[in-house]
């Protein structure tokens, strides 16, 4: 066989690292894909066996990325235990290898992965909540990461005037915006109330949350349906008037009532990093 080229070398080593299984299984699969074996690549020495050298990279690949994910899902680890988390994270990394240069993107699809791979509770004769709660926690924790990462309103003009609500809002001419870091999520369980070492599972209750930042501090706000719909509308268009119209249509709450509610809610929304004036 000819000496492998640089491209063939990288193809082989990448596959050995990323394939599922132990090192032997990875090498067998890599050989079937490339025709090359470890002996074609790894220089021998007396001190360390080539398999051990390769094992440093192979084992390190998953270990490193699982460690990165642990930093992003502490509540989930606390709830399901480290061993279970490692198993799921390992499966995720093996199934969906990273394609981004940014490790921030590593856990982005983890909640979706848990959702798509969840077992059928009825066939297993277990409480379906046990399967659903970790998915909800993952979704919540990912949303928190995104709220910390994206641009907030810290460098934007804030609604600071305390008499603003008393004199009313100029709905036509005031340009309300939502910051990029604002995350709106709908949960089936109140996972945001979980604390470290929580002995009790979260209450099963549909919950709408805004997760954002104010002065770089994480803010989590429970929302009523009209607040959720209004913020959702504002995320996709600049016009407060249109957002109120769309919210009214979705919630059947009259526009005038939404406007009146907004007057009393706007300070809270601002202090939780949900809205700012452009």
């Amino acid at each position: 066989m000819n000496k492998p080229t640089l491209e063939e070398t990288q193809f082989w080593l990448k596959n050995v690292l990323i394939y599922k299984g132990n090192l032997h299984e990875k090498l067998v699969k890599a050989r079937s894909q490339t025709g090359y074996s470890m002996d074609d690549f790894i220089k021998k020495s007396n001190s360390i066996h080539p398999a051990q050298r390769l094992g440093i990279y192979s084992a390190g690949y998953t270990m490193r990325l699982v460690e990165c994910m642990k930093a992003s899902f502490p509540i989930l680890i606390d709830f399901m235990g480290e061993q279970f988390f490692d198993t799921f994270a390992d499966a995720y990394i093996s199934t969906i290898p990273s394609t981004s240069w940014n490790l921030f993107d590593l856990g982005a699809k983890f909640p979706e992965f848990l959702e798509k791979t969840k077992p059928n509770a009825s066939k297993m004769d277990i409480n379906p909540d046990i399967i659903e709660i970790p998915i909800q926690i993952a979704k919540f924790e990912r949303a928190k990461s995104e709220a910390l990462h994206y641009e907030g309103s810290e460098k934007k003009k804030q609604i600071s005037d305390p008499i603003f609500p008393l004199f009313g809002i100029d709905f036509e001419n005031t340009n309300f915006q939502t910051p990029k870091c604002l995350q709106l999520i709908s949960l089936e369980f109140q996972v945001h109330t979980l604390t470290p070492n929580s002995k009790k599972p979260p209450i099963k209750k549909k919950t709408l949350l805004a997760i954002s930042r104010h002065q770089y501090r994480m803010k989590i706000l429970e929302l009523k349906p009209w607040q959720f719909e209004l913020l959702k509308a504002l995320k996709s268009n600049d016009s407060l008037t249109e957002s109120i119209l769309s919210t009214s249509a979705k919630t059947t709450i009259p526009e005038t009532e939404i406007k009146a509610n907004l007057l009393t809610w706007i300070t809270v929304a601002t202090e939780h990093g949900c809205i700012y004036i452009r």
Binding site: K3, P4, T5, L6, E7, T9, Q10, F11, L13, K14, L17, I18, D40, F41, I42, K43, S45, S47, I48, P50, Q52, R53, L54, I56, Y57, A59, G60, Y61, M63, R64, L65, E67, C68, A71, S72, P97, S98, T99, S100, W101, N102, L103, F104, L106, S145, L148, H149, Y150, E151, G152, E154, K180, C181, R213, Q215, Y216, R217, M218
Partner: protein
């Protein structure tokens, strides 16, 4: 090839003194105290690219009073994949904001066929890879409009196809591209131990006039190999290599890398300041930390997203 700095030692880049890596664990200290007690900071570029959270706010404060260097881990300079233009654009945007003294990355590859291993993988050191890497370094330097500085990585395997030593490869790369070198003496020590070559000979045979920075760090001994864990104080053999490198260069910027089991900020600075004594010949006495169970290599990308209230 970038024409400027061709005849200037160290590409005209100055000795910044003693610096540390900017880590989220130290944000509370750095935001409370006006004196960071170091001369400069190194940021991991990827941790700040497209990141508009609290970390950028901390960086805003620090860059007003201290020089910043951008050190990347995902440029993938050695890969046969095309250069990632999205990555380079984001890197350049960050550089426009940070105004770094220089931009560095590693002589390695991290991904292939669009998959990223997030590891610094070794290259076979051949004429083919030299030609390939040189071409890409020139392209990156043209795009960034500045020299690229490349670090020697720790390696745990060597390829049978290699026909050039790593120090010869670096010398040829510098000859072809006039890139800068980030000499990581800990990595030289780790690789030398793992592959059985002389670390002193390595340092004595790289193009020393292109070395712009030195990294020091603490590895871990797993019995028959060392791993570049960056989670320990700098051991005596690495301090000795550091002294040698500073003697040969006449003095360049020093950066203490510590990526896991990170000590409190004042302790980190105390470790860094030992560099001054090491240069004077007062080599700190410190053993290499031993472990039995294999752990992962350093992971500077494990940059915890923090809020101001953590």
């Amino acid at each position: 090839m970038l024409k400027h700095h061709k005849n200037e030692p160290r590409l005209g880049l100055k000795n910044l003194g003693l610096g540390v890596g900017l880590r989220s664990e130290h944000f509370p200290y750095l935001m409370k105290n006006n004196d960071p007690m170091v001369d400069w900071f190194e940021i991991i570029s990827e941790n700040f690219m497209n990141n508009h959270g609290y970390a950028r706010h901390v960086l805003d404060k620090l860059k007003k009073t201290r020089p910043i260097v951008m050190h990347g881990v995902s440029m993938n300079i050695g890969s046969t994949d095309p250069l990632n233009t999205t990555y380079l654009k984001a890197l350049k945007e960050l550089a426009e904001y940070v105004q770094p003294e220089w931009i560095s990355d590693h002589l390695c590859w991290t991904g292939f066929a669009g998959k990223n291993t997030h590891d610094l993988l070794p290259l076979p050191l051949t004429e083919e890879s030299l030609k390939h890497v040189s071409k890409r370094v020139l392209e990156v330097q043209d795009y960034l409009k500045r020299p690229l500085v490349l670090e020697n990585p720790s390696t745990y395997l060597e390829f049978k196809q290699s026909t050039i030593t790593e120090w010869e490869f670096l010398s040829a790369l510098v000859e072809k591209t006039n890139c800068g070198l980030l000499l990581d003496v800990n990595n030289v020590f780790v690789s030398a131990t793992n592959h059985g070559f002389s670390a002193e000979n390595y340092i004595q045979n790289i193009p020393i006039e292109n070395v712009v920075q030195i990294h020091i760090a603490g590895p871990t001994d797993y019995g028959n190999f060392l791993i570049d864990t960056h989670d320990q104080p700098v051991p005596t053999p690495v301090w000795k290599l550091y002294k040698l490198a500073q003697e040969l260069t006449g003095g360049v910027s020093t950066l203490l890398e510590w990526d896991a089991n990170i000590p409190e900020y004042p302790e980190l600075v105390k470790e860094l300041k030992k560099a001054k004594e090491a240069v004077l010949g007062n080599i700190p006495i410190n053993k290499i930390q031993k472990q039995e169970n294999f752990s992962i290599a350093s992971n500077p990308l494990n940059f915890k997203l923090v809020a101001n209230n953590e």
